[in-house]
């Protein structure tokens, strides 16, 4: 069996959705004895004990299936920034700062260790900042060059996201810096980080 996860950041960055895409049919939930999420952000490692959060005992499911994130294929487990701890220090109190996240789910099933990794570029705040770009277009004095640059900025944001998904942390940082320079040059400031 291969453990498979899928991560989606909430639009308001207050949590991310953890989807468990593992095929658990035929596995007994009683034998899943550990499930820990590890997140590396900005050089610091944070952990979250999913099993303890779900009540300390076996995760949801029955003798023939494990439903760690819920019974439906669309079910997900919400991970909030205050759930992730480095020692006793949470990653953040309210939102996930934009940046590169290396996320690993490790489980112990029937005394065997399994893990799945996903790298992500969290960009909710930058997306909301970039959403303000069209407001700078004057319909009565249309600036085609500015319009073209704004379109490029949105395309580069896609590049940022793809770099995150592909684990290219250096390029992710380089691209996000460029996009943020572009936004700052237009006096668009952070939504919740400032």
């Amino acid at each position: 069996m291969a453990l498979q996860i899928y991560i989606v950041e909430a639009d308001d960055a207050t949590y991310f959705k953890l989807y468990d895409q593992t095929v658990w049919v035929g596995y007994d939930h009683d034998l899943l004895t550990a499930a820990t999420l590890t997140v590396v952000y900005d050089g610091t490692t944070y952990t979250h004990n999913i099993l303890a959060h779900l009540g300390g005992g076996p995760v949801l499911g029955d003798a023939t299936s494990v439903n760690m994130c819920g019974s439906s294929v669309n079910s997900y487990y919400e991970v909030h920034p205050h759930d992730l701890l480095s020692g006793s220090t949470p990653l953040n109190s309210t939102y996930f700062p934009d940046g590169y996240y290396d996320i690993t789910l490790a489980v112990t099933y029937n005394a065997g260790a399994l893990s799945a990794n996903s790298t992500q570029g969290f960009l909710s705040e930058t997306y909301q900042m970039a959403a303000q770009l069209p407001l700078q277009i004057d319909l009565n004095n249309f600036n085609y060059e500015e319009n073209r640059l704004q379109f490029l900025c949105i395309a580069m944001l896609q590049g940022c996201k793809w770099a995150g998904e592909l684990g290219r942390s250096t390029q992710f940082t380089k691209f996000t810096d460029k996009v943020n320079d572009f936004l700052e040059a237009r006096d668009i400031s952070g939504i919740w980080s400032t």
């Binding site: 580069m156 770099a163 290219r168």
Partner: protein
């Protein structure tokens, strides 16, 4: 060619990988004050292709369509190599 879900997932990864290279090229050209026209156009098209492939929830595409997407990505790669400065 018969396109499987694995083939399509791999094609999306190839498209995203190429998109990262194009975005890097654009960043470098912006830093150098060089024109970015070709790279920007290719990135726009690539965004459209990846968007199409990732949002094919109703299976609107047939095997010929996927082959065409793959050919477009291949052509963009060739164009990128022709115009890149790094």
């Amino acid at each position: 060619m018969v396109w499987t879900s694995t083939d399509i997932a791999n094609l999306i990864l190839v498209g995203k990988d190429l998109g990262v290279h194009l975005t890097e090229s654009i960043c470098n050209k912006l830093d150098l004050g060089k024109p970015i026209g070709q790279d920007a156009d290719m990135l726009y098209l690539l965004c459209d292709i990846v968007f199409a492939l990732e949002n094919d929830g109703t299976a609107v595409f047939d095997d010929d369509d996927y082959s065409y997407f793959a050919e477009m990505i291949s052509r963009i790669e060739i164009q990128r190599n022709r115009f890149r400065i790094i």
